[in-house]
Symmetry: C2
Subunit: 291 residues, 2 copies
């Protein structure tokens, strides 16, 4: 929970731990406590007139409803209204990845760009789409599931129950698993694979080259279908993968049709770990009636 | 070239042959001759006040420019202005696939649907996207290149220079080639493969089952990325493939995430071969200042 200035500076923030499989009341209670902590420390002139909420699942933004939170077992929770009642200001809710798109448009790598995709490379792989200047949520709020584009029919199993999804090839756990398979060891964590490659471990190098190529293959699907001007890549895995962006771009360019598609910009997120938080602030300005 | 009533009825039409690699002047001259033939046969009250033009390549619709016509070697031709000067009414131009989307929205299978993809299965495989009620062209008019989504890294060569594109697996020529490879014969035409399967030829049956599955795999990429409410399939190959839509849907559903995506409707085009022509008429109503 944070208070954010109009230029994107975070004035004050508070964190809370999420209990396992929380109820809506538990989450709202924690939000309200953190909100009080943030607001009480602000000068009166800085106190927010409205709030935004980046929710961990597909959302019905106009109605303020979190349609589903997979890890929490929630369905159709009117989280904006519950939160607004608890903190006393209007609350505008949207999906967290859509919030990241808004933050990147307002404060980050996509300033002034009308057509882009935002892709998060982390424990999972998610994405958001901005089409003609607007976050595009699809018919039921599910657009942008980049992580579950199938790249290999008989590829490794994915958390979604399918096989060979982009997420099963380039997420943090996937990188660790690919390295363990290559070396016959037990799966560790992705940062150890990046560290091993930096130390000259050829197996780690080979795995990361394959990951960069597979990421480029996945991005090529997005580009051929949507012809964006820009792809913004964020998330912890992206921080480590940054030096390999040229290989990602090369794999992408080899698989797209049309000169404009080959020229798509591929950039690292400029809002980083605070993307969803800053995006929630942008949502908040909307609920306050600002553009 | 046709005169189309507000309800989509074609009042009168004329055809012309396209010479190989025509110049813009040659095409405009033929359009104007066919236009005269159509208009002269109409009652005065039915004469059109404006026209639309469905162009065979990416277009800059607001400027009326055909950005590229691959088969003709054209680049940045102001075809709307040239045609308007030749026929004496305002002309609104767009890409032919986008025109098909407009026709399907106004007269066809996508009436009232805000989020859908239109896919043409023919000698090539093309597509158009409608997002939140508007045709979405991408940053440079290239959005919807469904035919060049890569399904198999080392798959068969595609006309685009790549390998394993959807077009290289499910277009008419691809179906003929797959059957020839399966039987060791010389490639014929796709209709012969459909006829052979109908006659109980197990090799043809096997090829068409694989084609239906590959089409479902390609559509799953579109659905995971865009979460459309509907996919509309048109083109000559689709006419023959219609009986196999249940297999296409099953392959699609097995590869998408989220209940709403599994429930996506998959329908045959309701405007058929005249899709681009009817879409041009919808474009024409726009240039005449109608909604």
């Amino acid at each position: 929970v944070a208070a954010v200035a109009a230029d994107g500076r975070i004035l004050r923030r508070a964190r809370f731990e999420t209990p396992p499989r929380p109820t809506p009341a538990q989450i709202v209670h924690r939000i309200a406590a953190a909100w009080s902590e943030v607001v009480e420390g602000l000068a009166a002139a800085d106190r927010p007139a409205a709030a935004g909420l980046a929710a961990p699942g597909p959302a019905d933004a106009p109605r303020g409803v979190l349609r589903q939170a997979f890890d929490w077992g929630w369905r159709d929770v009117p989280l904006a209204a519950l939160t607004s009642a608890a903190i006393g200001v209007p609350v505008q809710l949207d999906n967290d990845v859509n919030a990241c798109c808004l933050a990147e448009m307002r404060f980050g790598a996509a300033a002034g760009v009308q057509d882009f995709a935002w892709i998060q490379l982390s424990t999972g792989v998610g994405g958001g789409l901005v089409c003609a200047g607007r976050v595009y949520a699809g018919a039921a709020g599910l657009a942008g599931e980049v992580g579950h584009l199938v790249l290999e029919e008989d590829g490794p199993p994915c958390a979604c129950g399918g096989r060979g999804c982009l997420q099963a090839l380039v997420s943090g756990p996937a990188i660790a698993r690919r390295y363990a398979e290559r070396t016959g060891g037990a799966p560790g964590a992705a940062p150890a694979v990046f560290a091993a490659a930096a130390d000259g471990d050829p197996a780690a190098e080979e795995v990361l080259q394959a990951v960069a190529r597979d990421l480029g293959r996945g991005l090529a699907l997005v580009v051929n279908l949507l012809n964006p001007a820009l792809l913004v890549l964020g998330g912890g895995v992206m921080e480590s993968l940054q030096a390999r962006l040229p290989a990602v771009r090369a794999a992408l360019r080899a698989r797209v049709i049309g000169q404009a598609n080959r020229e798509v910009a591929v950039r690292r997120s400029a809002v980083g770990y605070d993307a969803a938080l800053l995006g929630a602030a942008v949502l908040g300005t909307r609920s306050a009636g600002q553009p």
